[in-house]
């Protein structure tokens, strides 16, 4: 592990191959479920926005998710189109601009479950001019990123090979051309020598190799075949480590299911 906070997780993974890491990435983006508003009943809307635009904006608000407490609607025992307490959460919104223009924010949504609330209170939904009203009831459900991007638990999930930079101390005369050109400031000069300061930032662009006046270049950029830097940036709906663990679980489940099918 390289980095970890509330929303970000960066892992250094050794001894895995690209197809596995890619499977993990694909599962994180498309298969790990999270909550998002899916159906909206507009009771009153006199704002300048059409009902559909408001519904769409509501759908894109990331909601803190409780994966253990809720079922995916298609897997829920209720089999109901409207859902039950185990597969949907009702949020309500009731705002009116009484005196002057106001902005309706995500924080104005009231949830029936205090744990399923917008990740941020400060996402604007619509502005209301004096006398305009917005009243609605929204139904949030679990869903998967493959069906709609609003159900994607991460804003970013990517991987890259672990870079390896070799500087030939004998032929390098520390002209600093490579230090200047590097867009990620990976290299630095210290005590008359070029050294690697921030290896992980390297994007393998090889500008430093191209710019080196020596023939052959005194700097080599390569990558390790079985080592990856895997980064996950959660939208805040779930902790990033939980998202990756879920992806592992889903992959295991899918492989097991396929194995069972083939055995028959």
């Amino acid at each position: 592990m390289l980095e970890r906070d509330e929303k970000n997780l960066r892992l250094l993974i050794r001894g895995a191959d690209a197809p596995f890491i890619n499977a993990l990435r694909r599962n994180v983006i498309a298969e790990v479920p999270c909550m998002a508003i899916d159906d909206v009943v507009i009771i009153e809307n006199s704002s300048v926005f059409h009902d559909e635009i408001i519904a769409h904006r509501l759908g894109l608000i990331p909601l803190k998710t409780d994966l253990d407490g809720y079922n995916l609607p298609e897997e829920c025992s209720c089999k109901s189109e409207f859902g039950c307490n185990l597969c949907r959460v009702i949020l309500t919104l009731d705002r009116e601009a009484k005196e002057g223009a106001i902005t309706v924010y995500s924080g104005d949504l009231t949830s029936e479950n205090p744990n399923i609330v917008p990740v941020s209170d400060k996402i604007p939904i619509v502005k209301l001019a004096k006398g305009q009203k917005l009243r609605l009831e929204a139904y949030a459900r679990l869903g998967k990123g493959k069906n709609h991007a609003k159900w994607q638990p991460v804003s970013l999930c990517s991987y890259k090979y672990l870079p390896r930079i070799n500087i030939n101390g004998e032929s390098c005369d520390a002209c600093e051309k490579c230090v200047e050109i590097c867009p990620r400031k990976v290299l630095a000069k210290r005590e008359g020598k070029i050294e690697v300061r921030n290896l992980l930032a390297c994007t393998l662009c090889r500008d430093c190799v191209d710019v080196c006046p020596k023939q052959p270049p005194a700097i080599e950029v390569d990558w390790e075949k079985n080592a990856f830097i895997f980064s996950v940036e959660s939208t805040g709906v779930l902790p990033p480590e939980r998202i990756v663990m879920e992806a592992v679980k889903i992959l295991n489940k899918d492989l097991e299911e396929l194995a069972k099918q083939i055995e028959v």
Binding site: I13, F20, L258, I262
Partner: protein
């Protein structure tokens, strides 16, 4: 997930897997090709709008293709479990 067999001989197997995608197929292909008894392994998604990939395996004869597939699936699960454990260990630190 549902598997339909399209072609099956002593050393060849072609199956259609409803409900799978690149995620699993690419991983599986890699694991199959790592097996020295496998001569050829690949997959194809004939149409991007129907998520029904076709997996093809041909072995060199010593191993039945379905056994090779199961072996590959086992290997993939092993790596996955290993990663899951390593991650949990790293998170506890």
């Amino acid at each position: 997930m549902k598997v339909n067999v399209l072609k099956k001989t002593e050393n060849e197997l072609k199956i259609e897997v409803e409900g799978a995608g690149h995620t699993i197929c690419n991983l599986l292909q890699k694991k199959l090709l790592e097996d020295e008894n496998v001569e050829l392994a690949g997959y194809d998604i004939p149409h991007p709008l129907t998520p029904v990939p076709v997996i093809y395996v041909r072995t060199k004869g010593k191993l039945k293709p379905e056994e090779a597939l199961l072996k590959a699936l086992g290997k993939a699960r092993e790596i996955n479990e290993e990663f899951g454990k390593a991650l949990q260990k790293a998170l506890k630190k």
